[in-house]
């Protein structure tokens, strides 16, 4: 494996460089396409300026199985490719859950489910308060993660505050124990969000849904994967 990979086709090979967290392999695979589209087509972020105050914010709430995230960060220049084989080691920057203190460009230390979305709501409000018109705030959660009650506190408040700069992407691989009768997007719509459901493997569709500008409300994209 040459350590110069930069394309989508390289990602599976990059992921195989990271061993030791096979139990979360499915979680990692489920996020791969959305993460790739985010970092290559949607997010206004620069690996050379990861702290640019006008960057888009991306908070990976679903910190489980971050191998796809690390592969995308490596392929887009945020972390060196040769960090990938160190995954999980004592002195590695790449753990089984990401740490913002260790990885350039990572906004959120995650792993405990149900934290990212409440924080993202706070980030969106803070950007409003500071008058920064440009940055959008993206948060990726899993469909099973939505079981956590803290998410629903955040979904309700974001809807009431009409946080138009906030976009949540739900990776729906049907892993929520009790499911979401009536669909996930309906749950968000009920709280005043706009919503779209897309094929979580179709890059053009994902890009269109994530890029859709919202004028007066937060937006959710439910990305369905197998």
């Amino acid at each position: 494996m040459q350590l110069s990979a930069r394309s989508y086709e390289d990602l599976p090979a990059l992921i195989t460089l990271m061993t030791g967290d096979e139990k979360h392999g499915r979680a990692s695979e489920s996020t791969l396409d959305v993460l790739w589209v985010l970092y290559n087509r949607v997010l206004k972020v620069d690996p050379q300026a990861p702290d640019d105050p006008d960057r888009d914010r991306f908070l990976l709430s679903k910190g489980h199985g971050p191998m796809a995230y690390y592969a995308v960060l490596a392929a887009t220049g945020f972390i060196p490719l040769d960090a990938l084989p160190t995954f999980g080691r004592y002195d590695s920057i790449l753990g089984q859950h990401p740490d913002r203190a260790l990885i350039p460009g990572v906004e959120l230390s995650s792993g405990s489910l149900g934290h990212g979305l409440p924080i993202a709501v706070g980030v969106a409000v803070a950007l409003d308060l500071k008058g920064r018109a440009g940055p959008r705030v993206f948060c990726l959660v899993g469909d099973a993660e939505l079981d956590e009650g803290s998410n629903h506190e955040a979904i309700a408040l974001a809807g009431r505050l009409s946080l138009s700069r906030l976009t949540v992407c739900v990776i729906d691989n049907g892993s929520a124990t009790h499911g979401w009768p009536g669909s996930i997007d309906e749950r968000f719509r009920l709280e005043g969000w706009s919503a779209a459901t897309v094929d979580g493997r179709d890059h053009d569709t994902i890009e269109a849904a994530l890029s859709a500008a919202q004028q007066d409300r937060p937006h959710v994209v439910v990305a369905e994967v197998e």
Partner: protein, 298 residues
């Protein structure tokens, strides 16, 4: 104390554009009624009755450079969202000022759901937090102004009971009374000072006062302690700071009596003073415990 907190935090919002007050309904009525929410509609933020969100949301504000002042009842600020406190602030490397009301059993008549005498013990398990237990409204103001100007993790515990006089704010143990070379050393925390002074008026005792209990000022304890006997009086869970004192005196043989709220659930309503009496934290109870402690060594 709470009145002073609200008045001063409102004034701080006028002075500091980077501050925000974050509430979960509780307390919003004051800031609305006092005009603070009208003057700063974007910085008096009420998330509703959503305490996990309260903390996570405030962390999001901190992530973008604001200094949040997060306020509600102690059980809902420390216990219910404890993982958010631990991860969304400490683990993310963010700062904020947490201000609780309802200290221990201030809300005695409300019952166990509104009581959290374990709060300081819980906060003490987390790295990086300073825990302040003011004993007078003037101390509340000094601590609030100091912490609001900082960048760290601060928790301020407001109580309904207060000492008659304020002690000038210091993060160190402050000697209030000096005894002889054979005097017992009594560490009184926050509102415990008044009953401690009354209880020990006739005793040969050095009284040290703490309105900041974390980090614990081990150097001052070693400096002021004379005889190897220490009494710790905390207005929350008994023994919360025992390990700090043991660590401070690890090279010195000593005896320690730790007074505070008993660990068992005292399933009673009533008033704060009735609960003080039940836990032996009124002046008579403290005097009795200290006298027995000193007699047992004789």
């Amino acid at each position: 104390m709470r009145d002073r907190f609200m008045k001063v935090s409102g004034a701080l919002l006028d002075e500091r554009p980077d501050l925000a007050i974050v509430l979960a309904d509780i307390g919003f009525g004051y800031f609305a009624g006092a005009g603070v929410a009208t003057r700063h509609p974007g910085r008096v933020l009420n998330v509703g009755i959503r305490e996990q969100l309260l903390v996570g949301f405030a962390a999001g504000l901190a992530m973008e450079g604001l200094r949040p002042i997060v306020h509600t009842y102690a059980p809902f600020l420390v216990e219910r969202p404890f993982e958010q406190v631990k991860l969304d602030f400490g683990h993310q490397g963010l700062g904020g000022v947490f201000v609780s009301v309802g200290a221990s059993y201030d809300a005695a008549a409300a019952g166990r759901t509104h009581q959290a005498p374990e709060d300081v013990a819980l906060m003490s398990t987390l790295p990086g937090w300073s825990v302040h237990v003011p004993g007078h409204p003037d101390e509340v103001e000094a601590i609030l102004r100091s912490t609001a100007a900082g960048t760290g993790l601060d928790c301020i515990r407001l109580a309904e009971s207060a000492n008659p006089e304020a002690v000038p704010f210091s993060s160190s143990l402050t000697p209030v009374r000096r005894g002889s070379a054979s005097a017992v050393t009594v560490v009184a925390v926050g509102p415990s000072l008044a009953p401690v002074l009354e209880a020990t008026a006739a005793l040969d005792a050095t009284i040290l006062y703490a309105s900041t209990i974390r980090p614990f000022d081990a150097d001052a304890l070693r400096t002021f302690m004379a005889a190897p006997a220490v009494v710790l009086v905390e207005p929350y869970l008994a023994g919360t700071s025992s390990a700090e004192i043991s660590a401070a005196l690890k090279d010195s043989p000593h005896r320690l009596l730790a007074l505070g709220v008993a660990r068992h659930e005292h399933r009673r309503y009533g008033s704060r003073s009735e609960h003080d009496r039940a836990h032996g934290l009124d002046a008579a109870g403290i005097r009795r415990s200290v006298t027995d402690f000193l007699a047992s060594a004789a």
